[in-house]
Symmetry: C3
Subunit: 220 residues, 3 copies
């Protein structure tokens, strides 16, 4: 972050430039919202359903994280952009879902993977800063990254996709990334660079799992 | 509220006479509980299912509101009438569901619409008083009014009714009403009378949607 | 608890030896986690699904209790054993589910009943200590004991088992036990012995319901 001279612009927990962190976070929010909106369209829901699934997918994980940590009101209700961005995504899906499904499938998966990495990293950092146990902070990282998608599937009356035996690795890269964050935090070598590296690694692992068909084992 | 001389009887947030507000709120709780209990009966649930769906429908939205705002314990666990009233409703449904379904369908819809308006208004007021963002306060108003019904449908293993393309306007009147509350609050002309007017308008809009078949648009 | 000389070892709310209470609590967590993992296996979920259902079943009720009471972060994220134990249970189920289903069905039901009694008692005590209303404390006891299983069923896309007309008494023994706790608490004769007696009574009532086929009534 060259050129940043005002200390207050560095988020004290994540060690990232606050504006950069928020921008990147909102990109993740946007694409998670798109995935929620698309499922609503596939289910035949009307406008309220499209908006609800967009909001829940984008914000559900972070709201659970903040409520569990006692950091109320959650960022989603405090910073208005966290609502504007998924509402815009819902509008885009409502109008353009056919184009998105047919021409932007790969970009949506790409950005969803980016959101997965970012949310796992920032969730684990925030949980560590709020003094969750080590394993608890890893779990909160995973919930931040995957909780919105699970609520999306529950509201659509599906089993959560990430539990299916034919799903590609999703929660496991998030768990590995969150573990690295927590280890770094507890051993004093955490920095904004570690967060960026972890988010990139989770992102890459998710894309590799999609490309090579990596799955978690199934019992028996 | 003529004749009210004790200042403490006026709720500082809503500007309503506290006894009146609680009474009206509990009427909404009762009828939301009836709608939950009736769904449980239709699903063939036993006593525990009837009680659970009554409680969840009546109190779920308000509990989410209070947990998200950090106003713990939620009113539902603090003020015992908020549990007694839906338990009575569950008992009434358990014994009299056949009569209610066949002879009181319209009154139930009527009072459900009243609950929708009241909960949207009081939810948006409480969120504003707890300094949620403007859009966040609107969303909390909508969640207060509709969240219990959504959890009811999830527990019954249905898709949320208000997302169906053949549902009549439900969340949208609540969102419009909550918006008026937030605009009034932020511009200094909020009062108990505004809350009553908004609740009445949401109620009327919902009844009109039922009567004239107004629906939200569906994608494509 | 003979030989306990350090006062701090007695939990000030439950009146139980803190180490004993935690040990017993973790036994309940283990067996609730087993029941969650087994349902995941039956549903054909992969590793992440088995872990998720184990965690949610074991910890869901307690997390709701703590979030509603404002006791954040919940015990589950604070005390690392509350995550280690259900993760071990998930591993045991992942490897040994066939043996557990065929040879340990009765022990699993037995220990699930023990967890039901313990969680109902400790949930009602904690809610009383946090000054929930009397009925609210009973409800929080029931939610602590049954909430994890309800979320388990929702994530598996089933209707909650305890609402089915052919389920044996489950929530009702928990409610009766929580009521005794609250009555004792409010009348000044609560003690650790009362908690143990209530947990044992709930446990026995649940086992009797299983043995003799006791069910809650169904409407009509």
């Amino acid at each position: 972050m060259p050129g940043v001279s005002v200390l207050a612009q560095i988020d004290s927990a994540t060690g990232l430039d606050a504006t950069l962190e928020r921008t990147v976070d909102l990109v993740g929010v946007f694409f998670f919202a798109v995935s929620g909106g698309l499922l609503a369209v596939r289910k035949g829901f009307e406008l309220v359903g499209v908006i609800a699934l967009s909001l829940v997918t984008a914000l559900g994980g972070g709201i659970i994280r903040d409520v569990v940590l006692g950091a109320t009101p959650p960022t989603a209700f405090d910073d208005v952009l966290y609502l504007i961005v998924p509402l815009v995504a819902a509008a885009v899906v409502f109008v353009g879902h056919a184009i998105i499904e047919h021409r932007f499938r790969r970009p949506v998966m790409f950005f969803d993977a980016a959101g997965l990495g970012l949310f796992a990293a920032t969730g684990a950092v925030k949980a560590s800063a709020f003094e969750a146990s080590a394993v608890g902070a890893v779990l909160i990282g995973v919930i931040t990254a995957t909780g919105g998608g699970i609520i999306r599937d529950v509201l659509a009356n599906d089993q959560p996709h990430l539990f299916h035996p034919d799903s590609r690795l999703y929660a496991i890269p998030a768990a590995l990334g969150a573990t690295v964050i927590v280890v770094a935090w507890r051993n004093g070598f955490y920095s904004g660079g570690v967060a960026i590296g972890v988010a990139a690694a989770v992102f890459s692992l998710r894309l590799a799992a999609l490309k090579f068909g990596w799955r978690a084992p199934t019992p028996r």
